[in-house]
Symmetry: D2
Subunit: 304 residues, 4 copies
């Protein structure tokens, strides 16, 4: 298959179940909502080395939020529900309540989620921070606590939905040069940014460094190492390289979403956008032969 002369490989992305929370952070202005959302989702690219996978899902204009202020929806994900709860408590307490003029609301179940049966609530008892000065209120139909702090009142829900979502949706962008691969990856990120219900947890949404399980040389102490078969600068030294001869830059886009349909939609939009950039050669996807997870996103099906 070809799109704009870019070869689409006949392969699939393999993804796995992940526990997902989804919250709305509002603030007096869009800027301060963004600042809080960014801090709260930082250090959250991959649970290999980060305490969570986290990112900004989408902007919500003031006309559509419970408190009539602009906001960003974020997602905080982990394999284990308990870890999601722990991360919410820490990230809300230290990165959102401390940010100017913020409020936080639960955004799960997501109205468009396919399977709502798995969804459960976790209790994040921020109101104790109010030391008895907190009060209950209803904002936009939501039961919240109002906690007096230095800049006024912090408003938040305490129960947050955690549901089984889909982690690790992905595709690879291969281009003749690093620069074209980067522009194409950015185009993909820009396309996916507008899709509700998913995040791209890596820096700016782009993955520059892929890993393989285990190690050829340092297998005694390294559980993962560079995916040398996908490294352009050593392609001439690696007999079984997967880097095409005319490719000198590769980026991966990784997507965590609330369900399969959302991840499929995001992958489709991202791949199409990447294919608008000149000198992109090939689109592929990462899988482990079906061993890793139950979710398979076949590129040909997505793009047909």
């Amino acid at each position: 298959m070809k799109i704009n002369n870019v070869e689409i490989e006949d392969t699939f992305a393999e993804a796995f179940p992940i526990q997902v929370s989804r919250l709305l952070i509002t603030a007096a202005t869009e800027y301060y909502a963004r600042i809080a959302a960014t801090e709260a989702t930082g250090f959250g690219t991959s649970i290999i080395g980060c305490p969570a996978e986290a990112g900004i899902d989408c902007f919500v204009p003031s006309s559509k939020t419970p408190d009539g202020r602009p906001g960003y929806i974020i997602m905080v994900c982990h394999m284990k529900k308990d870890k999601v709860k722990e991360q919410l408590l820490e990230r809300l307490g230290d990165c959102v309540m401390t940010a100017p003029t913020t409020a936080v609301f639960n955004m799960l179940p997501f109205e468009r989620m396919e399977d709502k049966t798995q969804e459960k609530k976790v209790d994040v008892r921020l109101h104790f921070f109010g030391d008895g000065f907190e009060s209950k209120a209803v904002v936009g139909g939501k039961n919240v606590y109002v906690i007096p702090i230095m800049n006024g009142d912090f408003v938040c829900e305490e129960e947050y939905g955690v549901a089984k979502g889909v982690g690790g949706g992905n595709f690879f962008i291969m281009a003749e040069t690093q620069g074209s691969a980067l522009v194409a990856a950015q185009a993909a990120v820009d396309a996916i940014n507008g899709i509700e219900g998913c995040i791209m947890p890596f820096p700016g949404g782009i993955v520059a460094s892929g890993s393989k399980v285990g190690s050829l040389k340092y297998s005694k102490f390294m559980k993962a190492s560079t995916n040398h078969r996908m490294a352009p600068t050593i392609k001439s030294k690696v007999p079984d390289t997967q880097v095409p001869a005319n490719v000198n830059g590769i980026y991966e886009i990784v997507i965590d979403g609330v369900d399969e349909a959302t991840v499929a939609k995001a992958m489709t939009a991202g791949i199409k956008a990447a294919c608008t950039i000149p000198s992109v050669v090939k689109i592929s996807a990462g899988n482990y032969g079906g061993k890793l997870g139950p979710y398979k996103f076949e590129l040909y099906k997505l793009l047909q």
Copy 2:
């Protein structure tokens, strides 16, 4: 003392020793250096709930970096040196090496640091990720590893200086309204942003929520709770409130720096900037009567 008609309280900020690392992240363009620096310093406001205190120190133009590319210096801090090492390994491995086109260099000892005797190196062995395909090189006079990854080569030093810095420099901005306090806090952040050798680890540099040690009502399980004496919306209910009658918004700026001189310089610049904003009423600072830390920043001395 008054500056632009703003009352400066005759008090001091109390700060404590903290272990500081300081790194330069460069990238092909300023934007991607910023993206990596932001992700690597996220979820890093306070070691109460975050795994580190981290933030962006300053921008470095391409003419002044080892590899001739634009970069941001970040600082990652913790009370314990071992934790700094752990955090560097995780944040560099998961948030910088994964970011497009990045390289990382050690920036300690800082040429302007007062006391370099305390400085030690920690080893962050990222090169093992290269799985034998890595090589040694010299870039801008620095010994680095070159690790082949998907988007080309990742370049990094492995030894990073960790030194005793100063954590918790601070001041409070009190204004007639929340809006004026926020504009003044932003003005302070904008002023401090340009000062090399320090970070403001809270979201956007601003703290909206102050805490006191312990709790009046939930002392059995809460180690910290809202600083109710500094909460404007309940000032009428708190007999010993510290909120002046005409104050309705308070923000704190918290600064971690490489040494006392830098924190002093940052506090001075920030306070002066805050005092340019109409309707700011008072500047104060946080201390624990001298019990917390050995560093005292007297406002009158800073501003004389």
Copy 3:
């Protein structure tokens, strides 16, 4: 009427007919589309001193543009249709075709416009720049020219709709302090930003300086001067001041839209957003007793 304890004055905004063009600028990435849109709409706050009133209307994701790339819709307006044509030629030729990777498409008639009968096309013959190397093509159902330039091909339509829209929709935000007025004005701008079919042509969408027709003191050579009755810092010297005693900061939001319904929607969203900010005292609107224009936006009707 009161919203969140903010007084809404029983008055109306008076607006006038204006010739409106509306174009979509796409680019390889969101950033470069934004850069081109910003340059092309600069120096365009008011036709009193600028050659046009221009601004960014809204972002369009790549899934909804003719060429599958992200874009921004801009509006370029003037009282005279000929001036709109002249401005389009200059702004497209010098600020968009020169910007990296751009393409331009006509976005009038707007699908939601009320009155399409007034709409006419103007010819902006950019293709002559191609010097015979240009070619015709169809992109996303649009007839375009493809013009070879340094960075590849520039793609553009040549005929752009110009329609009778509504200029000068407005409201005033009055707050206890300048800071709170500014935060409220920003909240209003953030709310209106998402509404398709209108622009806020002043810097960042906010007007800090209002004018009256004529001059008290320099009437021989000044056609307009500061609206001294709306100036907080001299309210005690102006017997007929319109500044309430507790107001120290005022901003105006000015809106140009494709039709009355859009301006009404924008004003409503903006006013509601401004009223979420503490210390806002009053919302008003500007009119000339009905002498200026045929469009009247009564605040009570908008907000009922």
Copy 4:
């Protein structure tokens, strides 16, 4: 000559005298200074179709401005001094005085300018807008007017230096792909951004579309047309093409500066930065055989 394996052509950039003004716009926060500076310098890429060449020179931290607030220095240039005066009046009156919390100060003569003899003042009588309510004051040693407006007081100088500077410094970046050329152009812009005393007036600092004087096919009515010899997509149809066989994307960086030394410094920094990007093939520069202007910037001299 080669830098990082990029061929530097043995040629020179030809530049011409231009009348330069240089102003500092400050505001309560960095963001609002930037907003005003951006609006005031928009629609200002080239005096071929724009009323001025204008751009942001550099950021000035609050510790170094006359009023202790953050600011941006802008430059507004034209071939004719009268036009500079006209443009200052319109751009300051409509794009800066209308922007929130701004003040404006003259920044010419620039302390580092080589030749100060040519410098003259133009009078921009903004104070008449104050309608008699304006007053004189001294701010940071500068004589200013204080003009009461809606958001408080607008502070500005009235006399602005205009000096003979250097317009049209330039170089071309040629790369294997459009994407790599774009990343390299961005790297060049990021490098030049920090250099005081110059602007890059095109959108985001980058020129995507070059022109030649006259036209092959439409010479009767077109004074300029696409530089077809520098257009990669038609290189196979143009016998005397200047596009190397392996080049598919070209960008130009254009620089206006206060003097030759500044333009030379900017060109040097920009070229070096562009050469850090993989797949850049060649750096060249534009000249008219020495007919256009008296200033010649030889690439070999700059880079030796």
